[in-house]
Structures are given as structure tokens and as C-alpha cells.
Symmetry: C2
Subunit: 327 residues, 2 copies
């Protein structure tokens, strides 16, 4: 279908606001035969539009497809840098993988890779991340901060703060951060963050911040093994969320926090992070590569490392799976 | 030339131990005509052999070419892991670049990439590193340590310690380390180390340790802009150094220090490093991305960060160009 005919047809249905439009009227407005109208309707159906046809009444639009498009992300985006270069594809293997390639080829800071579906979505430690189409935000952001490699884990914490703030602004939901990279609502995982980098020992070349957000899944959309532990913003708020608008809010919030960070260092981020932290002053079990440690979370240090008060003294936790003991 | 004929010819010259062999004898031993012998001699000359021809006496070998070969590195290598997989090429763009590709394709820990010449040798901060053929060791080593990303700069310091020890063992020269990645002899740069990594915020995927060592350059071999600031092991010791043997010593020493590090952490490495450090307790100027700082070097902290006592208190230096003030 020619794209101007398609646009006009969608516009007609949008203006009709859920009422029927006769085939005759569509045929006149589009300047094509009734048979051609029928073909165009079929094509719209294939792109995800739910259109009802009733003899003598004509057609009405019951539902628009739930898709993010590059245009929806771009229009009204109020950032200076973040998201100003967009690579959007319906289906990708992994947005992280594409972002790494773009970064190697010189993509500017703020470039984002967004997909409607990932076939090989990944979380920390190469774990799989369920990334079905239509319901989530699967996004990778390229950064080029002038920071030493020791400080890059701070960017995971900064991203968590920005996303919690964006979720609150957009939906009113108060989410919580579980160190280092999960955002939970009512104790269930809603967002995962994966920060990867390419660096020299004392100079970062690029940081790729990947974000997976469960937005519009209903309970049945989660695979069985995740039903108990995962939730979505829709399940938590009871409302369907506009994903493109949420991406815009996240990019704007991220840009503000990132500017704070580059200008003032980690201190302002650390205070915000601690205010959203689920894990603070709780008894934890931390499973690390070098052993399992139990103790009370004292907070994070100036580099973003978790400080755990164990019976053997304060232990620095760089990387771990955290389990919060029942209080 | 068939490789068995070539081998036989080299063997004849080696057995003759610098004496002349008649063309007739060579012709008989190789089972080929005098004209063919002359052609084989020409080919050997092209590969870097210095062969003298004197009428009636025949040919004698004055000098073998100074080449490293994969076999010379492999034979007698006493390590368990380091250098057990070798990628050797006469000329490469950059051993780091090749090592990154190998690491991405799953090359095991200890894999080395060695070249006789680099056309695009790199140092820290993407600076060029002069890597002419025949005189240096241009080598990249792939590591897969289970350490958090914050600790990777320690591997630069560990490598510096291992190379200083290997140089001392092989040549008797006492070299010194200038934080973070240079090894100097009599105040002149002899070795540079470039540590690069691919990582998640809390898990390292691979570390590529690149080493450039000026081994057998004479003063005239350095380009003008380096003549004042660079030296070679040969200039410092007055003797030509066996590069393949030095690579073996470096790999063995590195393997020992790396094992210490993985088992006991950075503490034993830190003590060794400080004992070889040129910069300790000296007045320094440190040029960093965020400004220039002056002060006294107090040492390195447990993560390998330089501690500088400035008039404003102790400043942590993550990345800098260091200039030592005249004492």
C-alpha cells in the first residue's frame, strides 16, 4: 500500500473515534475502488490493527497496534544528547550487541538502540532476559564518559536512579532498587540493567548501558519460571503504559542525572540511590565468585561498591547475587 | 625453495660454524646443480641471512637473520598456561587488535599474539608506539581473570613487576617502574604496557595486556623524536639480547606473579611494585583529564590507584601523565 493512502486510512479511523465508516465513504476519501479499500484494510490488519467489518455499516477500528516506532520516540523528545541518534528495529538478536558494533564504529554519545523484540536478550553474567514483542522496552544507550575504569559500576547505579525517577513521574509507582542492577516493584523484578564497557586500564572508550523493562505484560505473558518473581508496570499500576513516552521520560531523566554526575561526581547520585535502595540496612546473603557472605548492608562506598557488615568485619562486595533475608 | 632443501642448506652452514663451504660440496649435499645452489643462496639472503661468497673458497654464513619464530618461543617454554597458544606473524597492524578479535572468538587464557613488526602499534590513550622489525618484542597476552572491573588496573602493575623481574633475570639490568605503565632504564623509556578490557560493570570478560619492549635497537634505530627519551636493553647492557628467550622468561615470570595474584590478591604484587617504583616519595606533576596536580607520591592504594599528597590533601590519581620533578 502506498504510504500516503495508508496514512489517510489510519487518519480516517482515528477521526471516526471508534465509530463505523462506510466502505463507500472510505472509497471516496481515498479515491479508490471498494475492492482496493478491502485490500488496504487487510494490510492494516496484518500490521496489527484490529478492524471490525459489519455489512451495511462498514468498518471500525477497535484497536491500534501496540508498536514503538522511531518517530514516536523522536517526536517531543526534550533531551539535548540522549536518544538524539536512534537505531530502531522491530526484531534484533540483542540491542547490546548492536550497540557495541555501533560504538566500535564511532557512534556518538547518547545513541540508542531500541527494538520491539529481542531474540537473544541478555542480562548480567550472560543470563538470558525474556524480551517478547509488544510489551517491553529493550534499549541500549552508548556513553563515552571521561572517567577511569574503576568508576564505571557507578553508571549502573546512576541508570537505576534515573529509571526509578522516570517510572515514578510517568506512572506514580514507587519502585525500589536492589543492588546492583535490579529494579523491583512490590518485591518483584520489573527492570534489569546491564552495563558493559570497552576500556583501557585507565581510560574508558565506551560504556553500553542496556535496559530491559517489563512494561505492558499481563500475568499470563510471563513464562512459568518468571511468574512468581517478575511483574510489569501495567500489572502494578492497572493501566496500559505508553512505551514511547516512557522512553522519552527515561532519556530526559537520565540526561539530568548524567549531567549531575559528570559535573559533581558520584556524591549526588549516591544519596539518591540510597534513598531508593531496597537493600539498605537489611540482612543480606551475597553470593560472589569468591564465596558467600552474610551480613547487614551498610550502603555503598564512593565507588558504588556494596559494604556488608559481616561477623568478620566490613566486606567490600564488588559483584554478587543478593538475597534479602526475611525481616 | 623447497623447505627441506632450505633446512639442509641452513644446517650445512650452521655445522660449518663460520667456515667456507665450497659450491661443489653444497651442490653434492643438496643434490642439485651449481646454478641451483646460487639461487638458493640468493633466497636465503632475502630472508635476512648474511652470506659471503669468495671465488674458489665458496660460501660462508656471517650472520643468521634476527627473527623470532613461533618455534623459538615454543621450544623450552616452561609455563603451564601463558604462551601455550601462540599466534605469530611477521608483520601485523597491531597485536592488541588481533588479540581482541581472538578473545571475542573464545581464545583461551594465556594465548599470546607476537609479531616481528607492527605497522600501527599503539600505546596508552591511542598514542602511536614505534614498533620496527627485528629489534623489539611486540606481544599481546589474553587473560580471563575472575575479578571485578575495578581491579583491572592492578594487572598493568602486575605486568610491570613481571617484566622488570624477567629483564633482571635475563640481562642483569635493574629497571624501574614509572606509574602507571612505563618501565625505564637510566630514566629512559624501554618498555610500555597497555592493558585493555572488555567487561560488564561487575564481571571482566577478557583483559588484553599489550607489551612493547625495545630490545636490540641501537641509538640510530630510534626516530629523532625518541632519541633523547627512549633506550633499549642492548644499549643498556652492551649486548645483543635473545628475544625469544626473553619472551619465555617474561611468560614464566608473569605466570608466577599472576598465580600469586589470583591466590593471594594484590598485596604481594603491591609490595614488589613499590620496591621497583621510580615514582615513590618523589615530587610529581600529574596531568589528568580533570586537571594538573602537584605533590609527593605516597604510593599506590589497594586498587592500584596512585596517592598524591598535594597541598589540598591526598588526591587519588586514576589516570595521568606523570612528570617527576628534578630532585
Amino acid at each position: 500500500m502506498q504510504s500516503n493512502l495508508r496514512k489517510k486510512l489510519i487518519q480516517l479511523f482515528t477521526e471516526a473515534d471508534g465509530e463505523f465508516i462506510s466502505g463507500q465513504k472510505i472509497s471516496e476519501e481515498l479515491g479508490c475502488s471498494r475492492t482496493a479499500v478491502w485490500k488496504h484494510i487487510e494490510e492494516l490488519r496484518k500490521s496489527g490493527y484490529e478492524l471490525e467489518a459489519v455489512r451495511k455499516l462498514g468498518y471500525k477500528m477497535k484497536k491500534k497496534p501496540d508498536k514503538i516506532t522511531e518517530n514516536e520516540i523522536r517526536l517531543g523528545l526534550k533531551t539535548e544528547k540522549m536518544g538524539q541518534t536512534i537505531y530502531f528495529q522491530d526484531v534484533v538478536s540483542s540491542t547490546q550487541k548492536i550497540a557495541h558494533e555501533l560504538a566500535n564504529n564511532g557512534a556518538p554519545e547518547g545513541t540508542i538502540v531500541v527494538a520491539d523484540k529481542q531474540t537473544e536478550g541478555r542480562g548480567r553474567m550472560s543470563r538470558a532476559w525474556h524480551s517478547p514483542e509488544g510489551n517491553g522496552i529493550w534499549m541500549s544507550l552508548i556513553l563515552r564518559p571521561e572517567i577511569p575504569v574503576q568508576k564505571t559500576p557507578q553508571l549502573t547505579l546512576l541508570t537505576a536512579v534515573a529509571i526509578v525517577q522516570a517510572i515514578e513521574e510517568q506512572t506514580g509507582i514507587a519502585a525500589e532498587i536492589k543492588w546492583p542492577n535490579d529494579i523491583l516493584i512490590n518485591g518483584k523484578k520489573t527492570v534489569g540493567i546491564l552495563t558493559e564497557l570497552q576500556a583501557e586500564a585507565d581510560q574508558v572508550h565506551s560504556v553500553i548501558v542496556g535496559t530491559g523493562i517489563n512494561v505492558n505484560q499481563l500475568a499470563d505473558d510471563f513464562p512459568n519460571e518468571l511468574k512468581e518473581t517478575a511483574t510489569s508496570l501495567r500489572l502494578a499500576s492497572g493501566e496500559k503504559i505508553d512505551r514511547a513516552a516512557l522512553i522519552q521520560t527515561i532519556l530526559l531523566t537520565f540526561e539530568k542525572r548524567y549531567r549531575d554526575y559528570i559535573t559533581h561526581g558520584f556524591r549526588p547520585i549516591k544519596l539518591l540511590w540510597e534513598s531508593y535502595a531496597l537493600t539498605l540496612y537489611r540482612e543480606l546473603t551475597a553470593r560472589t565468585l569468591s564465596g558467600t557472605f552474610r551480613g547487614k548492608a551498610l550502603g555503598i562506598d564512593d565507588e558504588g561498591v556494596l559494604l556488608l557488615e559481616t561477623s568478620d568485619g566490613i566486606k567490600k562486595i564488588y559483584s554478587a547475587d543478593i538475597e534479602i533475608s526475611p525481616s
